[in-house]
Subunit: 343 residues, 2 copies
């Protein structure tokens, strides 16, 4: 059933049903602060967004981990908050404090033209695609509307999501304006990334775990389904991975209702259950970033445990969340060695 | 099959299989800052722990919401961090900053006698039991060892749990010493609460959602099972509720392996799935505290949705997390009215 070719990218083959003993891999936040070459380059620009919007530098940062470790996929170096920035909201990244967003009225958001304002990102995608080895896939990405909206409404990171949930519960029409703007901008933004050369897309839903089931339907599933449908209409062959972190028992519903081609699993997700509950959908995950940080025997054992649980199923090895900045680069190298040694 | 008596407490009847159209209810953090009478009383003591350890005042605070709203259960006013305090770790509650715990060596923890050092709590339980109406149950509680240990190791609240997970992953024997001390102290602490008059117990596992499946087995399930077995051996008839917040798809495993009599469901838990996946176990939950804060039509609708999903099943109405301090007390009153009006 499976068409194989020597030039096929292992990452993309997995979406066609391939399930080799040695699975393809990449790591969320594989480009970034744990790499000395990243830290050196980061010093050359004043702000984090300057780095995201300077194609030469963003492309270099995207390529750094692939060059060192030979992952099967690169992921565009950018941030989910470039979308609110493009919608006209002021976004600042303060050292050690996380992102700060200036409050904005929903009616002042500008979805028309937002994707155009992100053109440096597409230039980055082009450069990366041109520089990557043929066997390496390039993943474009965006935040899912609920998650992006949490930052837009809370003004940054949040512990309890009280502001956004109050808005979503008590004034759903007003909140829907924000989500609508993000949906429209995100569709065009992902479309343009594919046009520029992205081989696959990932939609990050970092905060799906704070919603009740009806809210999850309304604010996670419905907007994600619209984005998936619209991008797929324009690019039928491009695999789309959804990563609903914290979705828990709602993962099967997310898989079935959004129409994504692959599911990112967070660290808490039990693997046998996820595999049984989501049919033939490709799964990706879910090593604890703290285990990667720790390294040693426990790292080897966890890689084996995860790969064993996914044996025979279309699978991409990854973390359950991003690389922690204190992670020794040699632990990342070990992941590649260990995976390649699996037969 | 069901023995009924006029004097039976509705909260306790639910554990014997009763499933009335109008379910019993209480709310996590029902005593506290959203009540003006609490805020007035709070001013009379210098520190939060002084309030917890002054039986006259702690009993009064426990009774305040029951007096106002007629919940079917009172929950002892205390904090899960009285256990590390009793183990010899310095615990401070700073206004607006959350708890701060001074680092301590595992070998310096003192489980022997820890429960004795919490004797003011048992005096509170006695006073509350004596003052409560006969139809109102009194719930004692403790934090689960993993959750209590997160505060002990992180020194307070945490966003990423990097310290405790590094310790648990890289030095599991050292971490096990902390968990062992908490398990031993918690068994005696819960035992003494029951001896003093608690009708039921709840074990709060606030941070179960950050662990991988094997870690969840080791640090959530195993210690909880030990506590449940030891308390049950001493008090076979006392119902024990486990509240593994964020357990997601691991809820059925938690239910089956810990042996709890009831399961607290967080707001994200899909109700039909939880009901189908956990057999005849009593369920409790899971209104979004933000919906309670918002009030109005959405509050009424959500109460109906949750009760409808649980119709015919042993069920206690509650929140999915604690009352938010800005919640208008009349919204809590509305929960009681609405539940009593269900036929």
């Amino acid at each position: 059933m499976l068409l194989k070719s020597m030039s096929e990218k292992p990452f993309l083959s997995a979406f066609k049903g391939a399930a080799p003993a040695s699975p393809p891999w990449w790591l969320m936040r594989q480009a970034g602060r744990y790499l000395p070459e990243y830290r050196a380059l980061r010093k050359s620009v004043p702000g984090f967004l300057d780095l995201c919007f300077t194609p030469e530098l963003a492309a270099e940062v995207t390529l750094q981990p692939v060059r060192r470790f030979g992952m099967d996929a690169a992921i565009l170096f950018s941030d989910i908050l470039v979308v609110p920035h493009a919608l006209g909201q002021e976004v600042r990244f303060l050292e050690g404090e996380g992102p700060k967003l200036t409050p904005i009225e929903p009616r002042d958001l500008q979805p028309a033209g937002a994707a155009d304002r992100l053109s440096p990102v597409y230039e980055t995608v082009k450069r990366v695609r041109a520089a990557l080895p043929a066997e390496t896939a390039l993943i474009g990405f965006a935040g899912a509307p609920w998650t992006v909206a949490t930052y837009m409404v809370e003004g940054g990171s949040s512990r309890d999501f009280a502001k956004i949930k109050q808005l979503a519960v008590a004034d759903p029409d007003r909140f829907a304006q924000i989500v609508e703007a993000v949906v429209l901008a995100t569709i065009d933004y992902l479309d343009r990334q594919v046009q520029a050369g992205a081989d696959a897309l990932q939609i990050f839903e970092t905060w799906s775990g704070v919603l009740s089931e009806p809210q999850f339907e309304k604010w996670v599933i419905a907007p994600t389904r619209r984005i998936v449908a619209a991008v797929r209409a324009r690019h039928p062959a491009i695999p789309i991975i959804g990563f609903p972190k914290g979705a828990g028992a709602l993962l099967p519903r997310y898989a079935q209702a959004t129409g994504v081609d692959g599911l990112g699993l967070d660290t808490s997700m039990p693997l046998a259950w996820a595999r049984a509950a989501t049919g033939s959908t490709l799964l990706q995950g879910n090593l604890d970033p703290v285990v990667l940080l720790a390294g040693g025997r426990i790292l080897d054992d966890e890689i084996d445990r995860i790969c064993d649980a996914m044996a025979g199923h279309p699978f991409v090895f990854n973390l359950g969340h991003g690389v922690i900045k204190e992670t020794p680069p040699e632990h990342v190298a070990r992941v590649g060695e260990k995976l390649r040694a699996r037969k």
